[in-house]
Assembly symmetry: C2
Homo-oligomer: 267 residues x 2
């Protein structure tokens, strides 16, 4: 018997545009699902802010998605997943999932040396969420972590290759050289620097959490009998808290296609 | 006859910590004044956001300062001065001043060739506020402008000298080479990159708006008989919308002294 709730949309929120990498992977794996995406572009970035503030913003984002009757909330933002998920998950009746666990599982499955690196925003790294999740899943893991606050503005300036990108990548990642065999890209923007990072850290396997979270969600929805089995064209809605035009432009960099007009809301 | 309102504090707000450069200059010139500083650190930065959102945030900041009975509001943030000041000034009964005009006046007074450069955040530059103000004050001025979105994160990472800072300065400023004799640093963070900028743009005079706005405010308060003539120790209060600890740390970079405990508020 199909669950009626299966027809409800998947809700995704991110501090801004980066979560579109997660949306893209969900679309690939679950093409029949309706999706509601909220980018908190008025208050982006979260990565330099405090736990209390990130929890407050995340709560407001979830309440907005709940009003839209989503069947699951995906926190596409690594910072919010790191700092707010544990606090928020027990508060709501529908599943709330973050990007940390899926990336961690993949890294442990792949790493031979169990020496794993993690990079992310300041808030993500200082929260130690990735570090704790890695150790919890396998206590033999040795974790190397580093905050890379310049990567997001670099990507948003379109500087994803060339001398400046290379120097900044080297500045942050030189301490990983020869120490790890797997690196978790703990921020949705970082996959856009993948080539430069791979060029510098040769032979290190790069884990992109966006990719991993999609299959995690698929399994969860299937298990709960919440997959959408309808044949009609899936609906996609985009909401932002700042100017929709800026978001639309950045969205094209991330998705390589045009999105339906984003609507501006105040959360 | 002294005006009673003269004893009220000066209110300053900024999107974050950068406005402390303005506070510092005001303290130097008006050491008897009480000051209330508000840094909207939960929603920083403003420089990449839309006019409508910047006006909304700025209005909320001003309303907070008004509750604290300030005699003047200083918008220390160049982005907010560029996008919100003209809209907000007529709404309130006390003077609201921004950083644009003072910097513009200084640049025109100094420049011999009247070929003047302006750098700032994306929002500041795309608003054309500096450009318009320069032309309005002297229609012979030729303005060269450039948004430099990486300068703020660079300063906040403490990268204010060395190879990476030099390359990024060159990337943004190479089009100014040989064209201007004066450059307005249209963002409170940029004076921290002054040495690198001066090293690249030799013989170009750099205008720091923070310095200019202080004497503008002094003249305005004197004219309106609003200067504080009390002899007691001036009070300084700091408010932030995010974690006070992060603010305190950055404040030491900007002010080179410890500040009284900032209080967290929600605007």
């Amino acid at each position: 018997m199909e669950n009626d709730k299966g027809k409800y949309p998947i809700g995704i929120f991110d501090s801004g545009v980066g979560g579109l990498t997660v949306l893209k992977e969900i679309e690939k794996l679950m093409p029949k699902e309706d999706i509601i995406y909220l980018g908190d572009t008025a208050r982006v970035p979260y990565g330099s802010k405090s736990k209390e503030t990130i929890i407050r913003f995340s709560t407001e984002n979830i309440l907005f998605l709940l009003k839209k009757k989503v069947k699951i909330v995906v926190i596409a933002c690594n910072t919010s997943s790191s700092l707010a998920l544990d606090y928020l998950r027990p508060m709501f009746s529908i599943p709330i999932v973050g990007v940390i666990e899926a990336g961690v599982r993949k890294a442990i499955r792949f790493s031979k040396s169990l020496r794993i690196g993690v990079i992310g925003t300041r808030a993500t790294i200082f929260s130690s969420s990735y570090q704790k999740a890695l150790i919890k899943m396998d206590n033999r893991v040795v974790v190397y972590s580093k905050a890379c606050p310049l990567f997001v503005p670099l990507v948003e300036e379109g500087i994803t290759k060339g001398r400046i990108a290379e120097m900044i990548v080297r500045m942050y990642l030189k301490e990983f050289k020869g120490k790890i065999d797997t690196l978790i890209l703990g921020c949705t923007h970082y996959p856009l620097l993948k080539d430069v990072i791979a060029g510098y850290l040769k032979d290190v396997y790069l884990v992109d959490s966006a990719r991993e979270i999609a299959s995690y969600i698929y399994n969860l929805l299937e298990e709960k009998n919440l997959l959408n089995k309808d044949k009609r064209l899936p609906q996609k809605e985009f909401y932002v808290t700042d100017d929709p035009i800026g978001f639309e432009k950045l969205a094209r960099i991330f998705l390589k296609r045009k999105i339906p007009n984003p609507k501006k809301i105040n959360v």
